[in-house]
């Protein structure tokens, strides 16, 4: 029998029992819909996280430190390995080393990582933050080349500060956007002010650092401060101008990407403060006079990371790259996707049981018809194929409409999620992503499961005894 006739017979048989076919197919539609929406959520999350990393050029940045701490060991919980490495004398990380890094092929910039706590005061409000220092040349790279307002500083020594939106929130400043036109009652009670981002550029802001107050120290015998409430520190107010405001993140970035504030590197070095630059300076305190605690090395392209990392490590430094974590992240997401997919598959298995039930019922009803087909020359293979095609049709139709249902569910869920979680943001996030391979896989999976479900009924139909079937009422 030619395939067109087989298909026509199968479709005719399905059409004859419309309601039953519809209900069976509905089961497949729901199963595929659940599968697609769940897997697309996993893919969407992975895409958002990876995209956020790419958007911020995190894959092209490396953290270099002279300490022999294997950050990967620390992350993986091998604390012994991490601590043992501390006893080995590390090579110092000095300006000449950073210059050396820049000679490596693919390296575009390297600079010491300077990060220290300060207080920020703006329009009478104060907040404590970790301020970061960067060279002005970082202004040409993501995410600093595309600010919400203003621009990255042009000089390494100007008193300009780049703020993140998180800080503005802490400073009770709300930026106007297409969703926020006025303050809520809660905002008013907190004395929050509503400002256009552009209007803040050039405004003055105080960066308050702490220094040791020598005069206070001499007032206490043995320099002890035990039992006394007066602090040994005094605050220095450093006037800055707001140069730019960073865009808000999509919510999938590491907090360090979108929080804090940035000032020029030379300005940071000149600021009077209690002096350590970061946590590595504390861990390796005896070396702090010999060089920087850590440095950032940025490469042109993700492909350069491995070679540059190897070169730096061969010099005796520790290098941490997010690239190292990428494969782990991918594994994690794969497990996440598989978990979601498994839930969807359970729904599809239930639908497959529905197909088996429907088709077995159909065989009982069509026993005589099967007998007639055999009597007029239908082979077991053809009878089997007719039932297979019927199962496959249920799978195909269920797959296509299930895909549409899944797409619809993701659209609605995405709209609701954006409405709830990002109601005041000037951007939206796609929590779900349906790639082309998922479309094809979902339909193929639907047909595959349906055909599997059709094996038993088809075999049973093919095995019908024609003599008995022709006697069947």
């Amino acid at each position: 029998m030619k395939p067109d006739e087989l298909t026509r017979i199968a479709l005719g048989n399905l059409w004859r029992t419309k309601l039953r076919t519809f209900l069976t197919t509905l089961g497949v539609i729901i199963g595929i819909g659940a599968l697609v929406s769940m897997v697309s959520f996993g893919i969407g999350m992975q895409k958002n996280v990876t995209a956020a990393f790419y958007e911020n050029d995190l894959f092209t940045s490396m953290l270099v430190s002279p300490q022999q701490i294997d950050v990967n060991k620390a992350i993986s919980g091998d604390m012994e390995g991490m601590v043992n490495a501390l006893y080995e004398p590390p090579p110092p990380l000095v300006d000449s080393t950073l210059s050396c890094f820049q000679t490596f092929s693919g390296v575009v910039i390297s600079f010491p990582e300077i990060r220290f706590p300060v207080k920020i005061r703006f329009a009478g409000n104060e907040t404590r933050i970790n301020i970061r220092a960067m060279p002005a040349s970082m202004g040409q790279y993501k995410p600093f080349n595309d600010l919400l307002a203003g621009s990255f500083f042009k000089s390494d020594s100007q008193n300009t500060i780049i703020l993140s939106q998180n800080i503005l929130k802490d400073l009770n400043v709300k930026l106007k956007n297409r969703h926020i036109h006025h303050l809520t009652l809660e905002d008013s009670l907190k004395s929050t002010v509503l400002i256009e981002a552009d209007s803040m550029i050039g405004d003055s802001l105080d960066v308050i650092t702490s220094v040791v107050d020598v005069t206070k120290m001499t007032g206490f015998p043995g320099f002890s401060i035990k039992g006394h409430r007066r602090m040994l520190f005094k605050e220095i107010i450093n006037p800055f101008q707001i140069g730019g405001i960073q865009k808000a993140g999509s919510g999938f970035e590491a907090p360090s990407m979108i929080s804090g504030a940035i000032i020029p590197i030379q300005t940071a070095e000149m600021l009077p403060r209690v002096g350590f630059n970061n946590i590595w300076d504390v861990l390796g305190g005896k070396h702090d006079h010999e060089g920087y605690g850590s440095a950032i090395v940025r490469v042109k392209h993700i492909d350069h990371v491995k070679a540059v990392q190897d070169s730096i490590e061969s010099m005796g430094y520790s290098v941490f790259s997010i690239m190292d974590q990428l494969s782990e992240m991918k594994k994690g997401f794969l497990i996440f996707d598989m978990g979601l997919g498994a839930i969807g598959t359970i729904a599809l298995i239930v639908a497959a049981l529905g197909i088996i039930n429907t088709m077995v019922m159909s065989i009982l009803e069509r026993t005589r018809e099967i007998g007639i087909m055999k009597a007029i020359g239908g082979s077991e293979g053809e009878i089997r194929t007719i039932f297979f095609v019927e199962a496959g049709m249920i799978g195909l139709i269920g797959g296509i409409f299930g895909l549409l249902l899944g797409w619809l569910v993701t659209k609605i869920a995405n709209a609701v999620a954006n409405m709830i979680f990002l109601k005041e943001m000037d951007f939206s996030v796609n929590f779900f992503h349906i790639p082309f391979w998922l479309i094809l896989s979902a339909i193929a999976f639907s047909i595959g499961i349906s055909l599997l479900a059709g094996i038993y009924p088809a075999a049973r139909a093919a095995a019908v005894n024609p003599v008995e079937a022709l006697r069947h009422d």
């Binding site: 029998m1 006739e5 005719g12 007029i376 020359g377």
Partner: protein, 235 residues
């Protein structure tokens, strides 16, 4: 002349629990091409079982059935399906048409199993229905046709793949006497055109009227064989 059909020492035994039923017992006979042979006998004499064996719907426990030198008892299931498709055409007392399909579609289905393309199927089915006088009823479903018309559709379907032998199992059993006569006339007409027919019937007079030979079956074996007319004579 070579035999079209030859049956030799055939047995078909059914088991119902410990009870053994010999539906066909040591049965032997042969049939030549162009013959119209009737098999008569009481209910349970093994007539339908014999037709099912020749039609390849059932297989004997013992013995041989040859159609044009091909032994059915040595055929596998796929070969038996081809046998049913091309070598024999079957007509049943209860017509056995698929109720959800029109007359045209019922005939087309047999042609589809024969591997014919869509347009060829349709043209052939219309021609066959025309030959049994049902061209104007071809789009009617069996439920909309009379018993006689249904049997004509069944005959058209049985002839679809130009079989060597037409097997008719009580073709007039469900019909009134006038319609039964018409169907027998149609079978005789087909036989005159060269179609070999083996018919199982209760209608002794009808069998006598159109058959070349009449076999009487009892308890699964032939007890009487009558030559009613020669092969060159027509009833």
């Amino acid at each position: 002349m070579k035999h079209l059909l030859k049956i030799q020492n055939c047995y078909r035994i059914y088991f119902k629990g410990t009870i053994q039923i010999q539906a066909v017992r040591n049965l032997s006979f042969s049939m030549r091409s162009g013959e119209l042979v009737s098999i008569i006998g009481r209910s349970g004499s093994g007539k339908s079982t014999l037709l099912n064996l020749i039609g390849g719907l059932d297989t004997p426990n013992q013995g041989h059935i040859w159609i044009q030198d091909k032994d059915l008892t040595r055929m596998n299931r796929t070969e038996l399906a081809r046998h049913r498709r091309y070598m024999v055409g079957m007509i049943f007392q209860s017509f056995n048409l698929i109720p959800s399909r029109t007359a045209l579609e019922n005939v087309s289905l047999a042609l589809a199993f024969g591997g014919k393309g869509r347009s060829e199927r349709e043209q052939t089915a219309i021609r066959l229905l025309d030959s049994v006088g049902l061209k104007d009823r071809m789009n009617h479903s069996p439920g909309e046709l009379s018993g006689g018309e249904c049997q004509r559709v069944a005959i058209a379907r049985a002839l679809a793949n130009r079989p060597l032998l037409l097997l008719a199992d009580e073709p007039t059993g469900n019909l009134d006497s006038k319609t039964a006569e018409d169907i027998l006339d149609l079978l005789r007409k087909l036989n005159r055109k060269g179609v070999s027919i083996l018919m199982v019937t209760h209608d002794q007079l009808g069998a006598e009227r159109i058959s070349h030979r009449r076999l009487q079956l009892m308890d699964g074996t032939i007890i009487k064989e009558e030559q009613l007319r020669s092969l060159h004579e027509t009833g």
